[in-house]
């Protein structure tokens, strides 16, 4: 084996509450936290208080240990080990942002925060609850009165689903639970859309995945309140490798919402998730995510959906924070008249590179796709669009519209657009529009001449720019995105 991963020992970490050693270490790691102008308001963290944590780095033994601790079936262990070998054999992708600084030996691949699944809010441990409260989870809970699976580190600790949905056969669980309780459904779909061999990070995820959401909507069932999950990275150098699988059976309808905020740490973290969505005939699935990673996280996510006849698949994707994000939600339109909507907004500040986009693959007649991408670059940040529209032969009447707009704040921001097109059917209609604009002095002056301060005017222009995405978000997420953008915008003009 060419690559080796030292530090492969598995250790038990025992820390005691608020005075825990690791908490002190965390503070010393970044003494300037409070003085950084860029300080991220959600950059709090709880003392690390974990039941089990694997050592840094990755090995076959760690993969086996993860599977053993989860008491997984043999087939899953085999999938993991196979994926581990693929991960080792694949080179780092070099066609996009610079990933050379990722050190796979410096990452924890598994942390289990508490022994068992929690179901009632009252039973959730206090420090974990505090984290959620600061993120507004209880409010989301109150407002939506819906099932909320919240992922804390590698596994869900809190899970709750309305009884009526359970009666209808809706399953909303974390993936580990789903694998235990519904092994046959998981086995049927797991890794079918995104096999381990798809890319290096999909392989890594398949090898060490933990947590994530499993959603199953039976045929004809409409879930009219969004299903929500919260993801969060807390431990230093903690890789989070959640695995999400959503299945909408024929004629079903669901909106799954996921938000992420991460505390600020000084060493690099890796987030490599895999999300697979299946929208069967006539199903409608919307997946909304707002991601806001601290500025040291590598966010490398593979998201793919398949839409069969008359199905609609929608990705609504907000990307803030992170050091580097690479994320291109895609939809394979395999059935007649299937439809894809992909809306994304990205904001990159100093030192950040967000390479986001969308892919739509038309492989049946009458399929349609609509892609709207909005990117904002601030300071020396880079936010770009990378997308693919592919139309297979025989996809008569396929239609696709792509619109990507970039907004640049200041003189040094950068935006790149890479719209790939591969059209192999004459009778199809593909449109692409792109614009790049700067927050102009005329616009700022106009707003300021009415008494609005420069910062507020700039924020107003930015919010207006992303309004088409904002209005697609559930209210509280729109509010959160608004707040996050306001924080990112502080002092960005003048």
């Amino acid at each position: 084996m060419k690559e080796s991963y030292p530090n492969t020992n598995v250790e038990n970490v025992t820390t005691a509450g608020a005075t825990g050693v690791s908490a002190e270490q965390d503070i010393s790691v970044n003494p300037d936290l409070t003085t950084q102008s860029d300080e991220y308001r959600y950059g709090f963290h709880d003392p690390e208080n974990y039941v089990f944590r694997s050592g840094k780095g990755l090995s076959r033994e760690i993969v086996e240990e993860i599977s053993r601790r989860k008491q997984e079936p043999q087939w899953m262990l085999e999938r993991r080990l196979e994926a581990y070998e693929i991960f080792l054999s694949k080179p780092m992708p070099t066609w996009g942002p610079d990933l050379s600084a990722i050190d796979f030996n410096e990452i924890f691949y598994f942390i289990k925060p508490s022994e068992k699944q929690e179901r009632s809010w009252d039973d959730v441990p206090d420090d974990i609850k505090n984290t959620f409260e600061r993120l507004g989870i209880p409010e989301a809970e109150r407002k939506f009165l819906a099932g909320a699976g919240a992922q804390y580190e590698s596994e869900s600790v809190y899970h709750n689903l309305k009884e009526e949905w359970e009666e209808k056969g809706v399953i909303f669980a974390d993936m580990d639970t789903a694998l235990r309780e519904h092994p046959e459904i998981v086995k049927r779909h797991f890794g079918k859309l995104i096999p381990a061999g798809d890319n290096k990070f999909a392989a890594l995820n398949t090898a060490v995945w933990s947590g994530g959401s499993f959603v199953f909507i039976p045929a004809g069932v409409t879930v009219d309140i969004p299903l929500q999950a919260y993801f969060r990275i807390n431990a230093k150098n903690m890789g989070q490798f959640e695995r999400t699988l959503i299945i909408g059976e024929p004629g079903s309808s669901v909106h799954y919402v996921e938000g992420c905020t991460a505390p600020t740490y000084s060493s690099n973290s890796l987030h490599a998730a895999v999300v697979e969505v299946i929208a069967m005939e006539g199903a409608r699935v919307r997946y909304t995510t707002i991601q806001n990673w601290s500025h040291n996280v590598y966010n490398l996510v593979t998201k793919r959906a398949v839409a069969y006849e008359n199905a609609t698949m929608e990705w609504v994707d907000g990307n803030l924070g992170s050091k580097i994000t690479m994320k291109y939600p895609s939809v394979f339109l395999l059935g007649r008249n299937a439809h894809a909507e992909i809306l994304s907004v990205a904001m990159a500040g100093d030192g950040q590179h967000i390479d986001a986009g969308a892919k739509a693959i038309h492989a049946a007649p009458g399929t349609t796709s609509s892609i709207v991408s909005k990117s904002i670059s601030k300071g020396v940040g880079r936010a770009g669009y990378r997308g693919l529209i592919q139309v297979e032969p025989g996809s008569v009447g396929a239609k696709s519209g792509v619109r990507c707009d970039a907004l640049i704040l200041g003189e040094q921001g950068r935006s790149d657009t890479y719209p790939y097109m591969d059209i192999r059917e004459e009778e199809s209609n593909i449109e692409h529009e792109a614009s790049v604009s700067k927050v102009g002095e005329e616009q700022l002056f106009y707003l300021m001449s009415r008494g609005i301060s420069e910062d507020e005017a700039a924020l107003m222009i930015v919010n207006g720019f992303i309004e088409p995405i904002m209005k697609e978000l559930p209210m509280e997420y729109a509010v959160e995105l608004n707040t996050l953008i306001a924080l990112e915008m502080e002092g960005s003009v003048g």
Binding site: G440, E441, E442, Q443, F445, Y446, L447, M448, S449, R450, G451, I452, S453, E454, E456, A457, M460, I461, N463, G464, F465, I466, E467, P468
Partner: protein, 258 residues
């Protein structure tokens, strides 16, 4: 009679000079606008009228200035545009910017609060805005349209007046507010301006045409040429002369007082 204390002090412009890329486009303008009066500033194109307006409001490309402009104690030329607005100045622009994604009502309510007005609920604000729009002959649905986006020339002008009337500035500079308006719109806009004057706002209206002035009428007319005010007179007299003789008769004249 004007009761409001905000409307007691004049706008005093003294020896204002404006340079753009080293070239002097406003060459020493002095002008006093009393509260509750309308002053018209007329003159050919390229004579510095809009430059004067933009410099007074604080446009970043018109910041190479000399002289003073004040409302009471507020030294306008030392302030940022938003501070000038809070000091009571308003500029209805010749070419209002389009701001995609920002509804008129949200923008204007934010501005209303930024000017220190008491908080008004979204619903109440929207209601009075819609009434204001209807008075100016605008469809109230403009309240939820994105700011100036896709507005016709005339709609932009009416929207500027709606903004001015909502924000109730001490002094409003209206730059070619009458261009692109049909007869009915012109009357509505002139009526709207007249009401603002009655409420105590001092108005400096920049125009090429007498039409709008007939509806007001102004207290003073000034003619600007070559970056200076070359003639000033009360009432409509100068506007009438202009109509008879054209601008050429005034260009090159030295400043004269009325």
């Amino acid at each position: 009679m004007i009761q409001d204390k905000r409307f007691e002090e004049p706008l005093v412009i003294d020896s204002l000079r404006v340079r753009i890329e080293g070239k002097e486009v406003v060459r020493g303008v002095s002008l006093t606008v009393e509260p509750g009066t309308v002053h018209a500033l007329m003159g050919p194109n390229g004579t510095g009228k809009s430059s004067l307006a933009l410099a007074l409001m604080g446009h970043p490309r018109y910041d190479d200035v000399e002289g003073t402009a004040r409302i009471g104690d507020a030294e306008l030329l030392e302030m940022s545009p938003d501070e000038r607005a809070r000091a009571g100045l308003f500029l209805a622009m010749q070419y209002p910017s389009e701001i995609p994604g920002v509804p008129v009502a949200d923008f204007l309510r934010t501005a209303f609060h930024a000017l220190g007005n008491k908080k008004v609920s979204q619903i109440a604000f929207r209601k009075s805005l819609e009434e204001e729009m209807q008075a100016l002959g605008m469809d109230p649905s403009f309240a939820t349209r994105y700011l100036n986006e896709g507005f016709s020339g005339g709609e932009k002008k009416r929207s500027e007046i709606v903004q001015a009337r909502t924000l109730k500035p001490r002094f409003a500079i209206l730059d070619e507010i009458d261009s692109g308006l049909d007869i009915d719109a012109l009357k509505a806009v002139a009526h709207g301006i007249g009401e603002m004057r009655a409420g105590g706002t001092g108005i400096l209206i920049i125009t090429h045409y007498r039409r709008v002035l007939d509806h007001l009428p102004p207290d003073h007319v000034h003619i600007m040429a070559g970056g200076r005010i070359v003639r000033s007179a009360p009432g409509l007299q100068l506007a009438e002369e202009l109509e008879a003789d054209g601008y050429e008769a005034f260009v090159g004249e030295e400043v004269s007082t009325s």
